[in-house]
Symmetry: C2
Subunit: 158 residues, 2 copies
DNA sequence: GCACATGATGTGCATGCGCTTACTAGCTTG
DNA sequence: CAAGCTAGTAAGCGCATGCACATCATGTGC
């Protein structure tokens, strides 16, 4: 048990490959990776403002702007001022955006299903269940726990 | 089954958190992320030359140099000219390097084990087995399979 | 009403990385 | 031996990112 590989060591190339597989699909629909993340968050999330969105998809709030501009220009989302708080913009995914999101997702998942099909039934289920469980965990519960923790969050390479 | 989340969507934050958890450990030992990857490859791999190393850890061969410099300066690896091919440098992990690598790994895995312990027994086993299986798969088998594939590997955001 | 906080946006800086080019030393093959 | 290839090194470009501010319009608490 002690000589297992690190999780990250195995996850990294896997994620890398999955992302590489997504790239052509996204390109074909002319949507960027971040754009796709945004559509996803808006489609099945309760995200309304840009700040919340940035938080939800783990992006920098200043970076989001250009992404939203493109999505809006493509008619995939709308960005209307909130009558309650006129500083804020309410983000909504359009019907077209929803359709786009779902058809992209279908393609991506078809690819992933092909991959998952290679796994033994039992492992596949465990894998997905574990993944979903870990995904629901708040970030702190994964990161925290080591005795040192966030005291040393500096970059010390120089 | 069709409305499952994308794998990447779940893997990304997970990996992110795991890496965040590694950071303080690595910092405490004054080893960079890439440095740790190098130590790992040298410790349990049959990698001898820099080119092979770069390939193994998925890094650029020009980028590796500075990393090796630091590791060498820290006495964790040696870099001796190959008597058979005097262009090449044979990389070896030192005893100290091995010790360093293993103690870092122990800390990281202790953290991961804490996390895995939250999963139901069956899921945990499936998860690890699936992960190992997927990790052994060559990258092409994950990326390929979509009808489009690598015809469109350009960046089309501009 | 005024001080302060907040949402969206824009600008600028430093970093890290992948990619390319160039150069040297040393193999290899015809 | 000459031509061509390979390993390591160095320097630079372009891109994406994270971070820090700055700005402006708007809300909120005292």
């Amino acid at each position: 048990m002690t000589s297992r590989r690190d999780l990250a060591e195995m996850l990294h190339p896997l994620l890398q490959s999955l992302i590489a597989a997504e790239r052509p699909v996204l390109a074909a629909h002319r949507v960027s990776m971040w754009g796709y993340a945004v559509l996803g968050a808006l489609d099945d999330g309760s995200v309304r403002t840009q700040a919340a969105l940035a938080e939800a998809i783990g992006a920098d709030k200043t970076r989001i702007i250009g992404i939203l501009d493109k999505l809006q220009a493509a008619g995939l989302i709308t960005r209307d001022p909130d009558p309650q708080d006129r500083r804020a913009r309410i983000l909504t995914i359009t019907g077209e955006g929803r359709k786009m999101r779902r058809s992209i997702r279908a393609e991506i998942q078809a690819n992933e299903d092909r991959l998952l099909a290679r796994l033994p039934e039992a492992d596949r289920h465990g894998f997905l269940r574990a993944l979903q469980a870990l995904h629901r965990l708040p970030r702190e519960q994964i990161t925290n726990g080591s005795p040192l923790d966030r005291r040393l969050t500096q970059r010390r390479d120089r």
